[in-house]
Symmetry: C2
Subunit: 208 residues, 2 copies
């Protein structure tokens, strides 16, 4: 197909497709004349993946480039690609004191031990969790962490279902797109369900 | 205490305190002369609550005013106040077609029935959940909803712990502040834990 059809098929404007090409996010088409190229189904798939990573995942152009490079490097394991997709996702960060950091790492370590999780202190996910713990402490609401093990158990249950489902999606591109969409929209899904459950529990506990 | 001390004690700048007073978020102090007023511990507590609602909860000034009015109206139940605090929280919304809406309400109804939840279709929480379901459908990732019951079960488990803990906080103001902080930072806490669990499950499933 020509560029115009690629744009229709993928729903991405021509100017945007050309921008992605300049940034190396989309391989060139097969040249059929000096000014014309032909594109295939692989280009449509790749464009949809790029859109999902940028718009749903909120990844930067550079982070998308890294994820795509990992996909195209046949030596990268599924675990490695999922890790890259995850680490590119935007996560809250917070400046914390050394004392707060030590306290938070202690709490995280205890919970991780009880759940059998490895903790990689250099991981952005650990850094993000650490920021949340310190924020709770700074605003004087450490009591939330009394339920840390219950939260971790719930997270484990959901994550098991997520990873099992995403692994079944088939192609590497589908798995990566699924991981990003599932991670980001899964957060929103859980947040909304938790609020519904709050309303129900509150109704039960506080009304007649 | 005088205004300057109220500012030091609460960590809120004088100009901001005056702005809150003009917006009706903070009751006037007791006048000791035409130009001077005295403030008490109740003012400090109220200021901290206003800050939590605005900065952590992301509520609008108008929404904060409604929550405070409910607190001050002795006829409002704890359940009613928690509902107001929750409904003031920012939630994602999405334009959806009537067909998508009907489909999403069907899915929500089934899951709610299995969990024994009431569904109030006019509630902003239901609207937000509905938006997430429709977003998943629009991007072609409905498979995430295969785990909807598992997500709902996890949300129930966490919400039970949340509401029980928050109810123990004592004063109505502490309960409201706790509900907002716990809801908003609880989202971030769960999201970070879910990513840690993803990494662990992926490691187990995809590496040797």
């Amino acid at each position: 197909m020509r560029m115009a059809e690629l744009s229709r098929e993928s729903g991405v404007p021509v100017a945007t497709i050309k921008y992605y090409q300049r940034e190396g996010l989309l391989p060139p088409g097969e040249l059929t004349s000096p000014n014309q190229a032909r594109y295939g189904a692989a280009h449509v798939r790749r464009l949809k993946l790029v859109r999902a990573l940028l718009e749903i995942g909120g990844l930067s152009i550079a982070a998308v480039g890294e994820v795509l490079a990992a996909i195209d490097d046949s030596g990268t394991s599924t675990h490695g690609i999922l890790g890259l997709a995850q680490h590119g996702l935007p996560m809250a960060k917070l400046e914390v004191t050394a004392e707060d950091r030590a306290w938070a790492m202690g709490r995280i370590g205890e919970t991780a031990r009880r759940r059998g999780w490895d903790v990689h202190p250099e991981s952005p996910v650990v850094e993000s969790l650490l920021g949340v713990l310190c924020a709770l402490r700074q605003v004087g609401h450490e009591w939330v962490l009394d339920a840390l093990d219950r939260y971790a158990e719930a997270a484990d249950s959901v994550a098991e279902a997520d990873v099992t489902a995403v692994a079944r999606l088939g192609t590497t591109e589908a798995v990566v797109e699924g991981a990003v969409v599932g991670t980001v929209l899964g957060d929103a899904l859980f947040a909304a369900l938790r609020r519904m459950a709050h309303a129900q529990v509150s109704r039960r506990q506080f009304t007649g």
